[in-house]
Symmetry: C2
Subunit: 334 residues, 2 copies
Amino acid sequence: VSAVLNGVQGTIRVSDQTRERIVSAAAELGYSPNPVARALRRGRSGSIAFVPRPRAEEHGHPLTYQLGIYIARAAARQGYHSVEVSPETIAGGDSKEQLGFLLSRRADGVIFDAPSSAPDLQRLVDHGIPVVQLLRPLDAVPTATVTVDPKRGITEAVIHLVALGHQRLAYLGKADAHEVERNRFAAFHTALTTNGVPLIDDLVIWGENYTIDEGQRLTRTLLSRGPMPSAIFVSSDVLALGVLRALYAARIRVPDVVSVISYDNTHADMLYPPLTAVAQPLDLVAESAVGQLMDALAVGKDGTMEPRRVVLPTRLCLRESTAAPRAHDAAWPN
Amino acid sequence: VSAVLNGVQGTIRVSDQTRERIVSAAAELGYSPNPVARALRRGRSGSIAFVPRPRAEEHGHPLTYQLGIYIARAAARQGYHSVEVSPETIAGGDSKEQLGFLLSRRADGVIFDAPSSAPDLQRLVDHGIPVVQLLRPLDAVPTATVTVDPKRGITEAVIHLVALGHQRLAYLGKADAHEVERNRFAAFHTALTTNGVPLIDDLVIWGENYTIDEGQRLTRTLLSRGPMPSAIFVSSDVLALGVLRALYAARIRVPDVVSVISYDNTHADMLYPPLTAVAQPLDLVAESAVGQLMDALAVGKDGTMEPRRVVLPTRLCLRESTAAPRAHDAAWPN
DNA sequence: ATGAAAGCGCTAACAA
DNA sequence: TTGTTAGCGCTTTCAT
């Protein structure tokens, strides 16, 4: 019966008549297999878990939401289920319990976005559960990772601005807490140099975190530093929320007076004006992560992963927050 | 051993010495129970599932995100796990499989936010799995529900505007697809009447869906209808995104020229200016839903629920998108 | 081609 | 107080 219902491949070991009997009986009884029993027996649950980034990141939801969807889709394509396990629960209650939840074959593999707890990760790895870290991995734990190289998109952004005629570019970013931050600024800096645009120290402003308030603060600082830039590159959408708020309060219109480009593209399409932004390929990130898990879980494999490091490129998404600088800006004294 | 490790209450049926031996042995071996086996044996998984609203709702993510967190927290407080099961997966692949996933004791109870598939729900109910529907329930299926009565918050909103001196109020809403929409407008209308403010037909504009584009479109229509309102009530935050975009494009400042109040409070705190908005108590919604599930799942109970209907009030959240109307507005001809 | 049985890891009921 | 055992529902091996 089990073989028939599961459509076992191998040799056809059942007469058509019996198969028919089995199938119709199952239908009549409304039978559906109990996945828990199946998981116990198989040692595999058939589902993977996605643990979003810690909630501490104010307004991190669109990214989490999108990743969740892409992961669910990618998993579904492979016949896998995916569930999202709130980091709240993990960090909150006794994390031992929660981890046990993931550990003990309830999820065959786990995808973490920007995890914050190395010990938790390590325990999973120690238990032989395949783990992939996304976007902002903890390097202390040797797992597979899928990250993004900001270079391409940021270079496109700078070229775009230069082509429009901008020469005074500001950069609002977060002080380098992580490689990710450093890479963004490095990409920006390199792109300026390559395109013969000066990096103006006064127009590079560092904040402590990615929040709206911080974005406002940095913008006010920028505005207080004398001659305005004609374009601002903001290193995260959440920061950009604050930038736009500050600009709105100061009655400085975008893109009429300043152009704005942000990084992330998570909120960009809901703002006004819609923001030109550098987008991370979250769909591909998810796909790659799920793919790696599936490889490790393929029949015959024991679930061990080599810690492969996939790096994906970014791209610029053109919208309406960029335009040529105002004519008289060009005539401004330096 | 099982009894000791699970801290069974009843009579203390174990000598302290043996207990000690068991505990230390477990610690040494790094033992942690296999939840799958436990679930199979107990017939309870110890976790509940949250199925977010269909992704079709553009920019519905903050609400989903917040509900997810509140549900996770509430469940954790009760010693339960919660997982989020993407509606993508359910709607996408063969929904039978996915439902089976929820059905077959992988989740002891299920919380749906604004579900779209009555048959799926019905199947769960038929299988005796406790179900709670949130915010926009399918009345066809007799489950417990937790909904929100917009009246209080909307009344506060109108009173707030009237107190500021507004008399020309616009309402942008979605044509009544669901009781939820009707209730919002009804609350608005009643509040106007109660406060002696006229409902101006030209300033009530109906759209087809909650999208940014629709918000823009409705606003353009509004602007084309002659004398501006001094305040706009927008029946959803996503619509408000479009309203603000259209106002920005038309160089109409908020709240200097028009005040704006929106409903939902999901995006309101990230906009510019920060929006005064009517908030649904998502934390209480989650808490109530989880509580009802827990009641149904309490030891001894068989998981049957009476279809209780909890209704929670809204409240106004003051921010910066409302101000007194411009002086000359008062002098405007009607 | 079909039937029988073992056993995944746990808990609960019962026996000693 | 401790030890033994049945069995949750399934898959898979082995015997017929």
